[in-house]
Amino acid sequence: MQPGNIHNQPATPQPAPPLAVSRKIKYTLAALAGIGLWFALYRQLHSIAEYLTFSLLTLEPGSRLGEAVLFFFYDTPKVLMLLTLIVYGVGVLRSFFTPERTRKILAGKRESVGNVLAAGLGIVTPFCSCSAVPLFIGFVTAGVPLGVTFSFLISAPMVNEVALVLLYGLLGWKVAALYLGTGLVIAILAGWTIGRLRMERHIEDWVREMHVNASDIPDQRLSWTERFDHGKTAVRDIVGKVWIYVVLGIAVGAGIHGYVPEGLMASIMGKEWWAVPVAVLVGIPMYANAAGIVPVVEALLGKGAALGTVLAFMMAVIALSLPETIILRKVLKPRLIAVFLGVVGIGIMLVGYLFNIII
């Protein structure tokens, strides 16, 4: 046994291990510098786009090609930068939430409170549409009411950060906030309505007869480094997958911006009473990436389409998709699927009408 040091009194208090502290300082400085650079670049984007379009490519300001190209050069880096920042932030935020924790929070909650919680949690809980079925089964068998589960399943894909970022970047914070607010309201009310309809019998029988081992999945204690890694992975996965659609969508938007005459959209996607239902019905079987569709939405709005009609179209495309319906058919009987599509579809239509009226 070594002669102990316990009798030695250090003359000065022990300093913290120098490596850990200086590393934290380095990371913090790097992060601040990164954010600073990001902002500096962001504010220069329009001037850079103008330079590229009018000086480098010597296009005419005001010409169709000129305006289209300017739109493209400005919006593409702007949206990609916003996307990277927000996806990173949300990735870190999501590391605090797991479906298992969400399930624990929601199990056994009363319907109205549960619907609100579920819709909110749908935004921050990581959700992959391929997990929709295991998640549905897991929730329902753990005692989360059917309507509450639906609130979660509606809000999760619809109120997604990519859509919100793009709406904010291309249309401003008001439209983004509107989308967020109405998306949540639809998720809450549609889920609540479905719950009231007492359609538990319309869950496929094998689901209700299932024996689920409520397995004790180890709850991760993540360090901050791991959380930041989560953000980085999210950027790599999401932006890596989505950037091409963003660029394509902006290109389409640029084309519409430069070449479609003003007011044409007002006739196709205007405020007539039939415009909203048609937009929703056309949107339901379509499935597009949020990333690709928002730039198109922006261009449509810029050409005179009515906000309510366009929002309704966008929500119908994102929230209700044929692939998701096919997947859900494994656990839901046809009537329940029809009710799901119907209730959400009507909710979206109501939102569309509302905005056409008040804006």
């Binding site: 391929c130 897991g138 299932m210 024996h211």
Partner: protein, 87 residues
Amino acid sequence: MEMDIDIKILGPGCKKCGQVAEMVRQVIEEHGFPAQIEEIAGLDKIAEYGVLSTPAVVIGGDVKCSGRVPERHEILQWLRKYQGTPE
């Protein structure tokens, strides 16, 4: 006689699930673990394990992780722990 470690990878077939299966295979080969990997894609079977998100890794009947792609060193850790060898 030593029994093979029973490993199941749960996932309906999206890209991440394939990634996880490949990773586990590599770790097993590199370190010579005797193991049987089964990839389960049937949603009903997946739900029986109580997992809420895929891909998920089950070793010896215990769910080790779900909803993400684990790190190699985690997979190694789980396998070693299962065998009872020091991590």
